[in-house]
């Protein structure tokens, strides 16, 4: 059985992900996370099956490839300045 999720835990993870939650949301999401994790418990009852061998050593040669232009790289950015992505002050 998975551990129940408490609102404190939800608030902690939300803080780390820079998501603001009010008390009502924290409580509601705690319940929902509990439900989601409970669904995974069902997997414990699946019998063992043969599975494909895991991949290993998937590597590429050290050859350069054309990337994006500056214009393309910045295309999705809400704000840019002098070829840089522009973001709020960090501290």
């Amino acid at each position: 059985m998975s551990e129940p999720v408490d609102p404190e835990e939800v608030r902690h993870v939300a803080d780390l992900a820079r998501v603001a939650l009010n008390d009502e949301e924290a409580t509601r999401f705690a319940e929902q996370f509990g439900d989601i994790l409970a669904y995974f418990d069902a997997l414990d009852e699946v019998p063992a099956v043969e599975r494909d061998a895991d991949l290993t050593n998937v590597m590429r040669a050290d050859d350069t490839r054309e990337g994006l232009s500056q214009e393309e790289a910045l295309r999705n950015a809400p704000e840019t300045v002098d070829g840089y992505f522009k973001g709020p002050r960090v501290s």
Partner: protein
């Protein structure tokens, strides 16, 4: 503990390092973007993978893994059967994906060591682990200091550059040892051909430092683990050179010792080395203890490369090369050590031994060339090899004097890129033939009867005066020793 005993305590410093080195590859760690970003416009070396765009898949660069195995081999580390990447989650604009791909509990290198010479002592520094990870992007804080800036400018050219983080055991007992270790590490990495010290930001150091009672340190430098665990330590960040490391850690050592002697506790915290002010400052952060929520990077299958340790050859390392130079070329310990200080110097020297006597070439490189280069703050890479070979030929064949070769020709070569033969020609340095010297000697004797008389009266200065006259009239191109001998011969006959 009373204030008095606190003051009387002898304190010892304990330091451990996390060294980030950039591996020299053509492309980034997980994508084909070029690593040659020097002097580039921002955000011109990116692709969907290193920008963290949805759906982009990372594929590890084989050359970076090879480089890591080489480092492991050189550090005498274990390469485990299986090694894998993890995601380290944190929110900061230098990470486009909001996580850094790094290695967590299955690093590619474990349990190594590196031997360093500190003064006359050999010290073995334990390497806990060394792992591969991607570099974040770089930030510029516009409009002043980080906490007062108006906004942040982000450049992802550096994002995804291959780094190796080398973590040592807390085995350093002084900042001097740290410096010696960093110099040695850089030397080894350069020998391996996986690192370029000249590249901006290629070496970055974080250090953990604490102080303990000196009496807890055993004769062999070991400290009981519970004593280490109890000591509050600070993590000093933002160190970018050997010299900076020694300065930052000396400062931090003094700061902690003073705190303890005044009866204050050392706070466990992260401190930032401010190079320009020469101090460490507390980076107090409101955030709670770091919670990186590491989990396995499912986009990158595990690697099984322990067998590569046998397959990949590494070049002769500095210690071995130094010993070989001593034996093979019959050099002194000091010469051998200076000639192997960098791979560049060692290669430069060793190529000369094909053409010249090994001892002769060694004295020219160690006593003359390295001195002149050091004075000019230049490296041997800036020397025109062909010109230097020609210079040695001129000396070896006795065409110019050693003094002129060094003071005139070598310096002109280094300062103006002059051709040795052209300098000899222009300055008239060709060694004066025996006849001309003899003529000048006879002339000096004829022109200076007073000095000749003084010589016969046993005045020591007279002979030197006459030698000076001959040197002057031959424009310094005669060998003073030969002139001296010839003068005596003529005067005494």
């Amino acid at each position: 503990m009373t204030a008095q005993t606190t003051q009387a305590r002898d304190l010892a410093v304990v330091i451990g390092l996390e060294v980030h080195v950039q591996l020299e590859t053509a492309t980034k760690l997980f994508c084909g973007c070029s690593t040659d970003t020097a002097d580039s416009e921002p955000n011109t070396h990116t692709c969907p993978t290193c920008l963290g765009l949805p759906g982009a898949l990372p594929v590890v660069n084989e050359a970076a893994v090879e480089a890591a195995v080489k480092v492991g081999k050189a550090l005498d580390a274990d390469i485990p059967e299986e090694t894998r990447f993890h995601r380290k989650n944190y929110y900061y604009p230098d990470l486009p994906k909001n996580f850094q791909v790094t290695q967590y509990d299955e690093p590619i290198c474990q349990d190594g060591s590196l031997e360093v010479a500190v003064a006359d002592e050999r010290r073995t520094i334990g390497i806990e682990r060394a792992h591969l990870e991607e570099d974040p992007g770089s930030l510029k804080h516009e409009g002043g200091a980080i906490d007062r800036a108006e906004y942040t400018m982000v450049d992802y050219n550096r994002a995804g550059m291959p780094l190796m983080e080398i973590v040592t055991d807390p085995d350093f007992r002084s900042p001097t040892e740290v410096r010696a270790f960093l110099e040695k590490l850089e030397e080894v990495l350069e020998y391996l051909g996986v690192f370029d010290a000249e590249r901006d930001g290629s070496l970055r150091i974080d250090a953990n430092l604490s102080v303990v009672d000196a009496e807890e340190v055993a004769e062999d430098g070991t400290i009981p683990t519970d004593v280490l665990a109890d000591a509050n330590r600070t993590e000093v960040k933002n160190i970018s050179s050997h010299k900076g490391a020694a300065k930052a850690l000396s400062y931090e050592e003094t700061r902690q010792k003073n705190a303890v002697r005044r009866g204050r506790a050392v706070e466990q915290e992260t401190r930032h080395w401010d190079e320009s002010r020469g101090i460490t400052v507390s980076m107090r952060s409101k955030e709670e203890e770091k919670d990186y929520r590491y989990f396995a990077e499912a986009d990158l299958p595990p690697m099984r490369v322990s067998g590569w340790k046998e397959e990949i050859a590494i070049p002769e390392l500095p210690d071995a090369r130094r010993e070989r130079f001593r034996e093979e070329y019959d050099l002194s310990a000091e010469e051998a050590s200076k000639l192997t200080s960098t791979k560049q110097v060692a290669d430069f020297y060793e190529a000369l031994t094909d053409e010249f006597d090994a001892g002769f070439a060694a004295s020219w490189v160690v006593d003359r060339l390295l001195g002149e280069l050091n004075y000019r703050d230049r490296s041997v890479g800036s020397v025109d090899r062909a010109a230097f070979v020609r210079l040695l030929e001129l000396v070896d064949s006795d065409d110019i004097t050693v003094k002129n070769a060094e003071e005139v020709v070598l310096r002109a070569m280094l300062d103006d890129g002059s051709d040795p033969d052209a300098v000899v020609e222009a300055e008239g340095l060709g060694k004066t033939s025996g006849d001309a010297v003899e003529e000048a000697v006879e002339e000096a004797i004829a022109d200076n009867p007073d000095a000749v008389e003084d010589y016969h009266d046993g005045e020591g200065g007279a002979l030197n005066f006459l030698v000076g006259q001959v040197m002057q009239s031959t424009g310094g191109s005669a060998e003073p020793g030969a002139v001296n001998e010839l003068l005596r011969e003529k005067l005494d006959s």
